[in-house]
Symmetry: C2
Subunit: 253 residues, 2 copies
């Protein structure tokens, strides 16, 4: 028995349809069934008009993944859409986990993950070039991760001079984690170390703000905000932050 279905998980980029890649566009075009958070369909309206679109509310990611695997197993050409890159805290891991769990029982099409422009690189681009050197990415959401694990990572990133990307800094329910992160990072950075705060990158209500480690708690942050904390080498210039690609005599050779 051969399966005739297909299953791709694609990253749409941060929001503006212009951040979509040709690869992601092709994957969408080849699909007959498109599954994702309802808010994302507006971004790709023209590409999905003739397709079966299954829009979910926020969360319910597990239900999206299960439905995608089921429909692909039934022979449908399925595409799961994610914002940013599908692999970075996106739908790709969930779909692969569901596929792996059902794998012994059924023939499944291969899960193809199509990369996209992540929220991280999008926010970095708007800030200049904060990620020109080694960096760490830490989600401050402790819904699925024990806070002790998150705190250990913040301490490690602070001590080892990583440029540090903070995702999901605050939500309606989670208010104190961002302050705690600042309290961990600040002692290991000069007070004037540049910090970038980007909300809604490449979306209609985009805001880009440059601040410092000592003042970063004054910035308004929420679930749609990405915060990038510079390292010892990061410099601010006008409204931009730049981390050079090397230390010391890096740029004189």
């Amino acid at each position: 028995m051969n399966t005739t279905g297909s299953l791709s998980v694609i990253g749409l980029g941060p929001g503006d349809p212009a951040t979509l890649t040709g690869q992601a566009r092709a994957a969408l075009q080849q699909a007959r069934v498109v599954i994702g958070y309802s808010g994302y369909f507006a971004w790709v309206q023209e590409l999905v008009q003739e397709k079966e679109c299954i829009a979910f509310p926020l969360q319910q990611e597990m239900a999206r993944a299960r439905l995608a695997v089921d429909r692909a197993r039934q022979g449908d050409a399925v595409c799961v859409i994610s914002s940013g890159d599908a692999g970075i805290y996106g739908m790709a891991s969930l779909v692969l986990e569901v596929a792996a769990q059902s794998a012994p029982h059924t023939l499944l099409p291969e899960v193809v993950v199509v990369p996209g422009v992540s929220a991280i690189t999008a926010c970095a681009a708007l800030l200049g070039a904060p990620l020109g050197h080694d960096f760490a990415v830490i989600s401050l959401s402790d819904l699925l991760t024990p806070w002790e694990v998150i705190e250990k990572r913040l301490l490690a990133a602070a001590a080892a001079d990583f440029v540090t990307v903070l995702l999901n800094p605050k939500s309606a329910r989670r208010q104190w984690q961002y302050g705690r992160a600042q309290a961990i990072l600040a002692p290991q950075r000069a007070p004037e170390t540049p910090v970038g705060v980007v909300r809604n990158a490449y979306r209609p209500q985009q805001s880009v703000q440059l601040t410092t480690v000592s003042a970063m708690l004054e910035a308004q942050v929420d679930m749609l905000t990405t915060v990038i904390v510079g390292n010892s080498q990061t410099r601010g210039w006008q409204s931009r932050m730049v981390t050079p690609r090397g230390y010391a005599v890096a740029h004189t050779r």
Copy 2:
């Protein structure tokens, strides 16, 4: 005096023209002068035919950045092309640094950074979803960074259970660093922890290999290779590696 020039730094994605975004394509189309490593021009041949293309050999990144700023200051519409994402160890930081240095003396156009699909997300997509949770990115090149800084970061990433992306693992001149990185990571990971080794992602000679922390030194790696070392939660499934988005009861709610 107003400058009439423009200056964008764009990421082309990992190589296949299908990984280009619409935004990057538009930035290229608006340029009159395109500057970059000679190897990249083949990827965008159709888009640059009518333009002045200034191709550099490998390295000479500083010369590329200086020329770009000079030409933009002279009123040209300039686009600097980078592979992957321009901001991650790419040309964006160099161009911004050169612009900042010359800023007091001259009116410069704003440097616009256009994000792309990074080598990191591209390699992750080919491996499945290794970056489904917090991760650290470390270049093993000690040409511009003291090895002690790199080693400190490896130790921190290993101890804090980050999924760890190793860039530039080896070159003709740098042979021992990859082994040293493995020696630091291995004691903090189970021997069977999945490790992905991707070479030439989305390029003609692409290779994707799944191995383990204990066997990762047997893989052939070089400057074109990205190595992704899983964390305590990462699992292998068939030829893929997946890091779930949470710990513990993450996927039952």
